[in-house]
């Protein structure tokens, strides 16, 4: 177990033009912490993992694992273990030999090797499969063997590169629980890379959102979800995604479609108003600020309906808009439906810089202020 310090990590792939995969990344991962890197394809999250593992040579920067600078060391000397998306099990070796391989390479005495392999196999319920080859295992079993091979030598850090991507939804949920349990039991510093925000949010003690090789935001999952640093993070996290409305703040009044709001501390200019689906509700009577949504389609999930559509009467009506509705509410296509907006949950972003606009007080509707005045 060891903290991992990433200092000014930069990775440029040569070519015409060169591709900047990673741009000055600084991050400290505490001893025993589980950090999930999340972002769209090509954002540089896997590059971070590969640079920590030693599979990619850094263009600049330092990687410090357990107080030791390792960026010049080959992968085998860094004392890290990695679980690959493809599991990368050695197909010609049995499960036993796959698990034993890292120990054998480190010249662990035979008796100790056998004991370690059997301990890990027992822990991951692989004992009945020890004599099988990877080709004779199911996806979930292969995944467990890959985990076992990484765990068997108690590495300083545990690197997981989208390890659940090849599993079906049910197995993925099950393995997510198992990975969390393994981490709780061993407390090994872990970096988990995924494009699946649910995995990142449920597994990570801290999540790191990446985009175009740049770190966008790092923090506890709930904190990043509730207080996204910019428009990208706000739009990337959350299912269904955050609804965005264009607006303009002029002389202290923010107009976004039919909404008239007072947002203290927000400078005049173009803004984007973000509303998460949970900040919206079916309007019943005149019960506060509301939007009119023209329904395009409804996704019935059983426990709730996701109603998709576009906000009526705004310029960017083409922007998708979605909110949750109880199962009994199933509006038809092109039906207009009133949606109540909880202004306390609105998030404001600068339209140009896409950065979050921080308020000096709660957002209220202009009508509320007038009534109060």
């Amino acid at each position: 177990m060891a903290p991992i310090i990433l200092e000014g990590l930069r990775k440029v792939y040569p070519g015409k033009p060169p591709v900047v995969a990673l741009e000055s990344l600084d991050l400290t991962i505490d001893d025993g912490e589980f950090v999930a890197f999340v972002g769209p394809s090509g954002c540089g999250k896997s590059t971070v993992l590969r640079c920590v593992a030693g599979l990619e040579r850094l263009t600049a920067g330092r990687v410090i694992i357990g107080g030791r600078e390792v960026q010049e060391l080959p992968p085998g000397k860094r004392d890290v273990a990695m679980v690959f998306q493809s599991y990368a099990l050695y197909p010609h070796l049995t499960v036993y030999k796959n698990l034993a391989f890292p120990l054998k390479e480190r010249h662990v005495p035979k008796q100790q090797l056998d004991a370690e392999v059997r301990r890990v196999a027992e822990m991951l319920e692989l004992t009945p499969l020890l004599r099988r080859r990877p080709g004779q295992l199911s996806g979930g079993q292969r995944q467990r063997v890959a985990m076992g091979r990484a765990l068997v030598r108690e590495p300083l850090a545990f690197l997981l590169d989208e390890p659940l991507s090849n599993l079906d939804a049910k197995l993925r949920t099950q393995m997510r629980t198992e990975i969390a349990a393994v981490h709780r039991r061993h407390g090994i510093t872990s970096i988990y890379v995924t494009h699946d925000q649910v995995e990142a949010m449920t597994l990570g003690e801290r999540i790191v959102v990446m985009r175009d090789g740049l770190l966008q935001q790092a923090g506890a999952p709930a904190e990043v979800y509730e207080n996204p640093a910019n428009l990208f993070v706000a739009g990337f996290l959350g299912t269904p995604t955050m609804n965005m409305l264009s607006g303009r703040n002029e002389r202290g009044v923010l107009s976004a479609g039919p909404l008239r709001l007072l947002a203290p501390g927000v400078p005049d200019g173009d803004v984007v108003v973000g509303i998460r689906p949970e900040g919206l509700d079916i309007a019943e009577g005149d019960d506060g600020p509301r939007l009119e949504v023209i329904v395009s389609h409804v996704e019935a999930l059983g426990n709730e309906n996701l109603v998709h559509g576009a906000v009526a009467g705004i310029d960017d009506a083409a922007l998708p808009f979605v909110f949750r509705a109880p199962p009994r509410v199933a509006p038809r296509r092109d039906e207009r439906i009133g949606v109540r907006v909880d202004v306390a949950q609105l998030l404001l972003f600068d339209r140009v810089s896409e950065q979050r606009l921080h308020l000096t007080g709660p957002v209220v509707t202009a009508d509320d202020r007038r009534a109060a005045g």
Binding site: P74, V80, M82, F84, A88, F101, R106
Partner: protein, 292 residues
């Protein structure tokens, strides 16, 4: 109204049982009407060779050929005692085995380098290597002879070994197979603590069974059956290889066909045995390399 539901079979029908699947496999296909005569046609030279090898000289000159009145086993003994056949067999075996081993080792390592290692000029080097495949051997025969002569290897088994230690085709073949292996395996091996050579030896090579068998078989066949280069490089009978030795049975005016066919049959025995043992690899190697 109720609907009868037919229960699904508990066990799927096996392809080899007596069900419709198995019956279909045994039923003659229209292709058989074409393939059967073609197979017989292909077998004709082999049968003719065997028949001639056990005939007398007179019987071998009959046309159309017919079965001999008695089997002349003495032809095989005559070949063995009347010519340095044992020498030729040994020479061919030495050359073939050394060349096969060196090709497997050198072509796989070079193929790995071209497939996986990033080094300056690797692309250009590989293109140059591929370009050599387009040059017929007859074009480089004389330059090769001059080089071998400068090494002092003329009329020496080394002349048959050194120019064939590694081949551009072998490197290309192995590179293509290495490229098809997922890089994750290699990376996992390196993280698990193996050196690059360790990864090559312990992880990649065991997975390269089919391509190595392909390369070994194709190399063996080309060396065993090579005639032109030994004809140029070897002069003395004790250094001759099998194919060269066989040509000595053919005279300018008269050829003793039974002896020639007996010698040919004996020379092909190792190849036939190899084929019977590794039939699966033979077919796969020829199919996968696209070479006949």
């Amino acid at each position: 109204m109720t609907t009868a539901i037919t229960p699904a079979p508990l066990v799927d029908r096996l392809p080899d049982d007596d069900g419709p699947e198995g019956a279909r496999r045994r039923r003659p296909s229209p292709w058989h009407f074409l393939l059967l005569p073609l197979s017989l046609l292909m077998l004709t030279p082999l049968v003719w060779m065997v028949v001639t090898a056990v005939s007398t000289t007179e019987e071998s000159r009959r046309f159309p050929p017919a079965l001999p009145s008695s089997i002349q086993w003495s032809n095989f003994a005559d070949v063995w005692t009347g010519s340095p056949f044992g020498h030729w067999l040994l020479n061919t075996a030495i050359v073939s085995i050394i060349v096969v081993i060196s090709n497997v080792v050198l072509c796989s390592t070079a193929g790995y380098a071209f497939a996986r290692l990033r080094f300056r000029g690797s692309g250009l080097a590989f293109i140059l290597l591929l370009a050599t495949l387009m040059v017929p051997f007859q074009v480089v025969l004389i330059p090769t002879l001059l080089i071998v002569k400068s090494f002092g290897l003329i009329d020496h088994l080394g002349a048959l070994i050194v120019p064939n230690l590694v081949t551009a085709f072998g490197v290309f073949l192995m590179r293509q197979f290495f490229i098809s292996l997922p890089p994750d395996l290699e990376e996992a091996g390196r993280i698990d603590g193996a050196s690059r050579l360790g990864v090559f030896r312990k992880i990649l090579l065991p997975l390269m069974g089919p391509p190595i068998a392909t390369l070994a078989i194709l190399t063996f066949l080309s060396i065993w059956n090579d005639f032109l280069w030994p004809l140029v490089a070897i002069q003395s009978p004790q250094n001759m290889t099998m194919q060269l030795g066989l040509s000595t049975f053919q005279g300018a005016h008269l050829t003793d066909w039974p002896l020639l066919m007996a010698a040919t049959l004996m020379s092909q025995l190792p190849v036939i045995i190899l084929f019977l043992v590794g039939q699966r690899w033979f077919v796969r190697s020829i199919a996968s390399s696209g070479i006949k």
